[in-house]
């Protein structure tokens, strides 16, 4: 048996510190200072440049010489296939004009105005779930009974996915964001998901309804290049997964942060009008896309005094940029009054999160309503017993047992 020579570069992901589970790797601070562009060795078996400074991250993420051809997360998947072709309709992995074509067909569904119009329905969904929490025996798992069902229901309604099917794709989706699922297994789950979505797209083709998928089909049909079945399935899956994993983890993790910072929680309870500012700060502070995003250099270029060669890989460490002291003083402190809206939690450049306005409204409404209606909300177990998701693309907690006092 021959052994592969070990890479001379430090392994990525850099470990989170043992102290505060909300902090990204403590090594980022020194790297931002001394080696803003540094080589790391990834579980996928490649060496990649890692970018950790805020300004450099904004530069690389909008540089069209860096390709998104690979999945944003391929660097942390041990047996990722880095040679595969980009699937049709894979909006996260397309570059240039091909990407713009799909993005333009979708952006109309996610404009500030369109999402604002959904706010009353989102408020209603949240209130119904708070009512159910208040009526259920304590303690409850806030992940299972609140954080996960809310974004899940919202994206299902928006897309036109029957909510009764949620168990199927919630399980599939959880497996697709895990980084330690072996490739054959991950491919099997992806195939199941494709089969499910293909069935749904067929149903929309036969009987269009007032939902995103039906409108998307119709909109694309009025262009020179209607969307193929493969493209529609891929877009549907991306929106379904993106729509519930990220927001669900933000809701649960943010709640835990606030319970650990009672002074901040009090400010939010007394001033619900601060919810939009608080949302941006929690997005910055938590940076739940914990391993950043992956890019590939397509032509030789210079960045931060280093020579990047075509074919090399690059990791944009979003969480490192969001803790950059030169942009956010006392960056390791959560401060709900901070103006943090320039954060990189949604990425930057042409691939910046398409659903960011939806995520914002969901989070703002949770932060406005949950802690006001259940003011004595607290952890039902010691903090040390909370399990964090270290092996998933989106950081979060596995469960969040909470309880509260009877209303007086």
């Amino acid at each position: 048996m021959t052994e592969t020579p070990a890479s001379p570069h430090p392994p990525f992901p850099l470990g989170r510190p043992t102290g505060c589970p909300f902090d990204p790797a403590s090594a980022y601070a020194a790297l931002r200072e001394e080696a803003p562009l540094t080589k790391v060795s990834t579980p996928a078996g490649v060496d990649a440049w890692m970018v950790s400074r805020y300004d450099d991250l904004r530069t690389v993420l909008r540089d069209r010489r860096l390709s998104s051809r690979l999945a944003p997360s391929d660097h942390v998947v041990e047996d990722a296939d880095l040679d595969r072709e980009v699937d049709a309709g894979s909006i996260l992995n397309l570059d240039g004009a091909e990407h713009t074509r799909l993005r333009r067909l979708l952006t109309t569904e996610f404009t500030v105005k369109r999402i604002e119009a959904l706010r009353p329905r989102i408020q209603q969904i949240i209130d119904v779930h708070i009512d159910a929490l208040l009526a259920s025996p304590r303690p409850v798992d806030l992940v299972r009974d609140f954080a996960l069902p809310i974004p899940s229901l919202v994206i299902c309604e928006l897309l036109g996915v029957p909510y009764a099917d949620r168990d199927v794709f919630q399980r599939q989706s959880a497996q697709l964001v895990a980084v330690d699922v072996p490739l054959p297994e991950a491919e099997a789950v992806a195939a199941e998901m494709q089969q499910y979505m293909a069935g749904l797209v067929m149903a929309k083709l036969e009987q269009p309804a007032d939902d995103l998928l039906s409108r998307l089909i119709e909109r694309a049909n009025s262009t020179e290049r209607p969307l193929s079945m493969e493209e529609l399935v891929s877009i549907g899956i991306t929106l379904l997964i993106a729509g519930h994993e990220t927001t669900a983890n933000m809701i649960a993790l943010s709640t835990l942060v606030l319970l650990r910072n009672p002074d901040q929680l009090k400010v939010l309870q007394e001033h619900p009008e601060l919810a939009p500012t608080a949302t941006e700060e929690l997005l910055r502070y938590l940076s739940v896309v914990q391993f950043g995003v992956f890019r590939q250099v397509t032509e030789d270029m210079e960045l931060a005094s280093e020579q990047l060669k075509a074919g090399e890989f690059l990791i944009a460490a979003l969480s490192a940029g969001n803790r950059d002291e030169s942009v956010y003083p006392a960056a390791d402190q959560v401060d709900l009054s901070r103006r943090a809206s320039t954060h990189l939690a949604f990425g930057f450049g042409p691939h910046q999160c398409l659903g960011q306005q939806l995520a914002r409204v969901e989070l703002q409404e949770v932060f406005t309503r949950l802690y006001r209606r259940i003011p004595t909300l607290r952890l039902a177990v010691p903090f040390e017993e909370i399990d964090f998701k270290h092996n998933t693309l989106v950081y979060g907690v596995k469960a969040l047992p909470v309880t509260w006092d009877d209303p007086r």
Binding site: R103, T107, T108, V112, K113, G349
Partner: protein, 63 residues
């Protein structure tokens, strides 16, 4: 203050509409940003924020 948008570069993220809602809006049919009106002096800070937030850096300001 003179504001222009490179609409070909716009990625429809809506950050400008959030930062300066009186100055920017998005087209209904494709989400691309456009200028509603030239900013009043009291909207200049918000307009600078919008330019800073734009993920495509598609907003140019001439002051």
């Amino acid at each position: 203050m003179d504001v222009t948008i490179d609409q070909d570069g716009c990625v429809g993220a809506g950050q400008c509409v959030l930062a300066a809602p009186g100055v920017f809006d998005q087209r209904d049919f494709d989400g691309v940003a456009f200028i509603l009106k030239e900013p009043d002096p009291d909207q200049h800070d918000a307009t600078r924020d919008a330019a800073l937030h734009c993920p495509a850096q598609a907003i140019q300001l001439l002051e």
